[in-house]
């Protein structure tokens, strides 16, 4: 396990910049909060969209900017590296409450000065009752608030920050430049009919758009001025030349489309950056970078304008910049997204719109540069398809071998048919990219949150179906059931009870989502983000009002494997073999398998019933059917954008639940799969810890039996392999071969590999200081292992390690 990058692989400049960012302590920056508060206070009469445009303008014009020594790509999110800006308009109540604990958090700690604490306390006071959180809760019925408080359905992250989970239209941005957007806005603004309600709103929207784009231009221009003053003062000739180049680039892209690779990358990064100053939604993604940047790269390469080495250095610098962007979340939400990265995804590979292999020189360069940096950002995804370049796949294996969890694979062979099935046009479907962790959308044409709506805790629902609808954790019956487990005569009775409960809770997740979406639409509309998503400008609507071409979303279902394993254990051991009586089962789970009899029952449940992940139809098909009960229910409903413009406006399922398996498990008592009370549930669509004993092919077979085409929010499969596993090229080829079968024949959705030894993890847990940059993949993204909470660390350690070496 390498824990350091080899300095021979990268230039000294890059090594220095990387070290500077990874060694900077996460802190809090109050600048944005001050600017936003001031603008909101001074413009109370203005429509919210104008307030937000003015606040963004003030921030971009007045916030601290800096250019680090040796930087080639410029642009900072806040006053310091890894200092998280505060976004008071979403939620701020939590901040005064958690302020004194920020630097003591078991994972994701933030440093904050007393002065900033004082400032933020003042700011928080003014925002009381005005923020998204308050509004969203007010829009919910008492029942929905109770459901949220019960932790059966969780939407905290959705009401404490912006949406994001989106990639904007980089093709268009690079093609027309910011000037082009201003022209387009003017064009449609002129046509606005202000005699209508709709027209009044559009008028404000266009005004806000133009303020925001111009503010964005001013922001870039400020870097031009800063670089200019720096190059004039710089004594070192080489450095001075570099700064001069930065100044020229910034001046050019302030107005015009980029003319070369360097400018194109700088502009793409600026867009990525300002979207994360406008909103604190995470999973803002860069889309298919190897595609939209390739024409620039190719041109520069053949004309001799750029070398591969310099292009790689620019990319490496960009990855370091992405890591310097930070976000602070309330503890209640941080627990759900361990490690705290922003899931800025970059997607490479896949196919062209004509169905040809899209892998190009830049795909290799991006892959290798991410491999050299070994950072948690960007989150690198490779689109697999059956004709993908084998040499490229080998290179992917070499990067995977480095052990920082990247790249992960999405599969064109299931995603594209899945998208077509939803009504996405072919050209758009061929152009999808990963967003955030593993979820997918068509960049620049899709609304927010292709996944990441509310979380539903499947096992709490399952337990309620055993107790006539009673949720024992809260003592509440949210949905009267079909009877008690003791009265069930057949397994079918239990299954029907699940059907009944899950349909109720499925609908409630949508009701919560609808309230959240309404609050987001009315309180915190994004302007820049809307500008860069197709159809918003012609329609004169923000994304949330129905501006995007497509609109499909998904919530996250947690505890997938546990559901299947619980159903199978009860069916086999209670109803078929009668090795456990109904009374005995209830008693043992209620007492958390206490005593010798309890433990015996637990061992029976664990060891003598089929487990998901072992290619056993008995449990795999039960799980598939039970999950479909949920999926078919949510397919009936629409998003708040229905009939307002976008294609779709529908829900599908999703399991890319990050590390939510830990906190979701922490609110679930013991379950009939033998899981002890309050321990983690299974992660994503992966098997439960330690239960997949037949190796990776059996896991692949089980996962592929899920209704993957309907789980477009992501079928997350995390596989852990020991480093020795793929040392040799022949082993790498074998791993590629199983991946090919999983994707091409079995139509698997996603897979990612954690190549790390158990020993390393245990050592890292013990001596975090020595493993500062040890990275692990936690369900869909990479995180610094030492920043994870001990619970999450234990969960990772416990997962089965497959070995090719026996």
């Amino acid at each position: 396990m390498q824990t350091e990058i080899k300095s021979t692989q990268v230039t000294q400049r890059i090594a220095n910049l990387r070290e500077k960012v990874i060694s900077s302590k996460p802190s809090v920056c109050t600048e944005r909060a001050k600017f936003y508060t001031q603008i909101y206070q001074d413009n109370e009469d203005q429509p919210v969209i104008i307030k937000r445009a003015l606040a963004l303008e003030k921030t971009l014009k007045e916030m601290t900017i800096f250019i680090d020594d040796g930087e080639l790509i410029v642009g900072n999110q806040s006053s310091q590296h890894r200092a998280a800006p505060i976004f008071p308009e979403y939620a701020v109540d939590w901040l005064p409450n958690e302020m004194d604990e920020l630097d003591k958090r078991p994972g994701d700690a933030f440093f904050i000065t007393d002065e900033h604490k004082k400032e933020l306390n003042e700011i928080a006071k003014w925002w009381k009752g005005k923020v998204l959180w308050d509004r969203g809760r007010a829009l919910m019925s008492q029942e929905l608030r109770d459901l949220q408080d019960s932790a059966i359905i969780k939407a905290t992250g959705n009401l404490t920050s912006g949406d994001a989970h989106i990639a904007v239209d980089f093709y268009k941005i690079l093609k027309i430049g910011l000037k082009g957007y201003l022209e387009e806005i003017r064009h449609y603004h002129k046509k606005t009919d202000r005699t209508k309600l709709e027209g009044v709103k559009k008028d404000h929207f266009y005004n806000a758009l133009s303020i925001s784009i111009k503010a964005f231009q001013s922001f870039i221009k400020r870097f031009h001025y800063l670089a200019t003053s720096m190059f004039l003062l710089e004594a070192d000739e080489k450095k001075s030349e570099e700064l001069k180049k930065i100044a020229e680039n910034c001046a050019a892209i302030t107005e015009n489309p980029p003319t070369d690779f360097y400018q194109a990358l700088q502009l793409a990064y600026f867009v990525q950056l300002v979207l994360q100053i406008e909103s604190n939604g995470h999973s803002v993604s860069l889309g298919r970078m190897d595609q939209y940047l390739f024409p620039f790269y190719y041109h520069d390469k053949i004309t001799g304008k750029i070398t591969e080495e310099f292009a790689s250095e620019l990319l490496e610098n960009t990855w370091i910049k992405l890591l310097s962007i930070n976000k602070i979340r309330p503890w209640s939400h941080t627990r759900f997204s361990a490690g705290g990265p922003l899931y800025q995804n970059v997607t490479i590979g896949g196919q062209t719109t004509e169905g040809k292999d899209a892998v190009n020189e830049l795909s290799f360069l991006i892959l290798d540069s991410v491999g050299k940096m070994k950072l948690t950002q960007p989150n690198l995804s490779v689109r697999f398809h059956k004709n993908i370049n084998q040499i490229f796949m080998m290179e992917c294996m070499r990067i995977i071998e480095k052990g920082f969890g990247m790249p992960s694979f999405n599969n064109d062979e299931i995603v594209i048919p899945g998208l077509l099935n939803l009504g996405v046009e072919e050209e758009d479907a061929m152009n999808y990219s990963a967003i955030g962790c593993i979820e997918i959308a068509v960049p620049g044409k899709w609304g927010y949150r292709c996944t990441g709506m509310s979380f539903l805790n499947f096992m709490r629902v399952f337990l309620a179906s055993m107790y006539d609808g009673l949720d024992k954790q809260t003592g509440k019956t949210f949905c009267k059931g079909t009877g008690n487990f003791l009265d069930f005569e057949t397994f079918d009775d239990l299954y029907k009870a699940w059907q009944h409960q899950i349909k109720f809770y499925a609908k409630k997740t949508i009701e919560i989502d609808a309230a959240v979406d309404t609050a987001l639409e009315e309180n915190v509309p994004d302007i820049l983000c809307s500008a860069f998503v197709d159809r918003c400008i012609p329609r004169g609507k923000t994304i949330k009002e129905g501006g995007s071409k497509y609109d499909f979303v998904s919530g996250l279902q947690v505890g997938i494997a546990n559901l299947g394993n619980s159903l199978a254990a009860i069916k086999k051991l209670v109803f078929e073999e009668k090795r456990i009586s109904k009374e005995q089962l209830l008693h043992t789970i209620e007492t958390n398998f206490e005593g010798i009899e309890g433990e015996k029952t637990r061992q029976l449940l664990l060891n003598f019933a089929p487990k998901y992940g072992n290619d056993d139809d008995y449990v795999d098909i039960l799980l598939k059917d039970a999950y479909l009960e949920f999926i078919e229910e949510i397919e009936k409903y629409h998003t708040t954008r229905y009939n307002r413009g976008p294609i779709g406006c529908r829900y599908y399922a999703g399991t890319s639940s990050i590390s939510a398996n830990v906190p979701n498990g922490a609110v679930v008592p013991a379950t009939p799969d033998g899981r002890k009370a309050f321990t983690p549930v299974a992660e994503g669509s992966s098997p439960s810890s330690g239960t997949d004993i037949l190796g990776p092919t059996a896991v692949f077979k089980s996962v592929a039996k899920l209704p993957t085409k309907k789980i477009m929010g992501g079928v997350l499969l995390n596989q852990k392999l020991s480093p020795a596993t793929i040392q040799k090229d022949t082993d790498k080829e074998k791993l590629i071969s199983v991946i090919r079968t999983f994707f091409t024949d079995l139509k698997g959705w996603h897979v990612q590999y954690n190549i790390v030894s158990r020993e390393t993890l245990l050592a890292a847990k013990k001596n975090p200081e020595k493993y500062r940059d040890l990275i692990v993949r936690v369900a869909g993204y990479s995180a610094f292992f030492t920043t994870l909470s001990p619970d999450t660390q234990d969960d990772i350690i416990a997962r089965t390690e497959h070995s090719l070496n026996f």
């Binding site: 015996k600 061992q603 029976l604 092919t697 059996a698 074998k734 024949d745 026996f806």
Partner: protein
């Protein structure tokens, strides 16, 4: 009788393979990493770490199993019904190795991974000694032939030649072990007769069958220039030998001896590192063989 079906095996022949481990072996090599494969009957394994002291095994086999201060003691000779014990230990601390499966049942297990086999992969029959099995082996080989699944067989060659001969057309590649050329040493460390192995190897060579020679490299047994040279020279005398695989000694199986209650005779022997094999590989290559570490 088989004792394991191991999917996604990558070191037992080309490609991705499912390995069927047969139970029962004419040899009992000191370094054997699957000691439960040696007996033709059920084996009783006890993993103390998993034992929860439920006591169900003691109730089931009163004469054979008794309680100790922190676990159980097993007198394996007195066990009356090992098959019944399979469902006795709930925590799977006590497990019974060995399953009587028909060829058709084994085929079902194999076909589960058929999509992963691809062009190069398939099935490897291992053991124990597959050719020491009766009818069921022949039946399985015939079924696999019908299904056109590629078959490798790992063999000690320590069986009567006709047991091999009658399967010649049903096996794609033999993975034939050559452990030593010296009679006394072979006898001491494996309990077998090396001339049977060497004669069978000559017969296999003459039969025109495709085979790969596998040499386990075992410290204290054959891990020396002199012994290795002799073995490689012997292989050089064969007409159709093309490839030699060297299998370095490892200690992954040591824990199993404890679980079976049998002594491990190679205590304190260190794992053989890949680089210790360099000179052997070079010598084999100088004789015109393809070489590889592992299978």
């Amino acid at each position: 009788m088989i004792f394991n079906v191991q999917r996604f095996s990558t070191h037992d022949g080309n490609g991705i393979r499912t390995v069927i481990f047969y139970k029962g072996c004419p040899l009992s090599c000191w370094w054997c990493s699957n000691p439960e494969s040696q007996s033709f009957d059920y084996s009783v394994l006890y993993k103390k770490k998993f034992c929860k002291n439920f006591g169900d095994c003691i109730l089931a086999e009163k004469k054979a199993i008794s309680k100790t201060k922190d676990g159980i003691q097993i007198n394996r000779d007195l066990i009356e019904n090992p098959e019944k014990l399979k469902n006795t230990c709930l925590s799977k601390a006590l497990t019974i190795s060995g399953e009587n499966k028909t060829a058709a049942e084994i085929l079902v297990e194999i076909e589960k991974d058929i999509l992963f086999f691809g062009k190069n992969g398939g099935v490897t029959l291992s053991g124990g000694e597959p050719f020491a099995q009766g009818e069921s082996l022949t039946n399985l080989l015939q079924l696999l032939k019908e299904k056109k699944i590629n078959v490798n067989v790992e063999t000690t060659l320590h069986v009567k030649w006709d047991k091999i001969e009658r399967h010649l057309t049903l096996v794609d590649t033999f993975l034939a072990d050559l452990k030593h050329t010296n009679k006394e040493k072979f006898k001491k460390y494996t309990g077998g007769n090396v001339s049977l192995v060497m004669t069978n190897m000559l017969k296999l060579d003459n039969s025109g069958a495709k085979y790969i020679i596998r040499i386990p490299v075992i410290p204290g047994f054959n891990h020396s220039e002199k012994e290795m040279t002799k073995m490689i020279d012997f292989v050089s005398s064969l007409k159709n030998a093309r490839e030699i695989n060297f299998l370095p000694y490892h200690t992954f199986g040591v824990e199993k001896y404890k679980m079976l209650g049998i002594p491990y005779l190679m205590k304190n022997t260190k794992k053989t590192e890949d680089d210790e094999l360099e000179s052997y590989m070079k010598y084999a290559e100088s004789k015109g063989f393809r070489t590889k570490i592992g299978g």
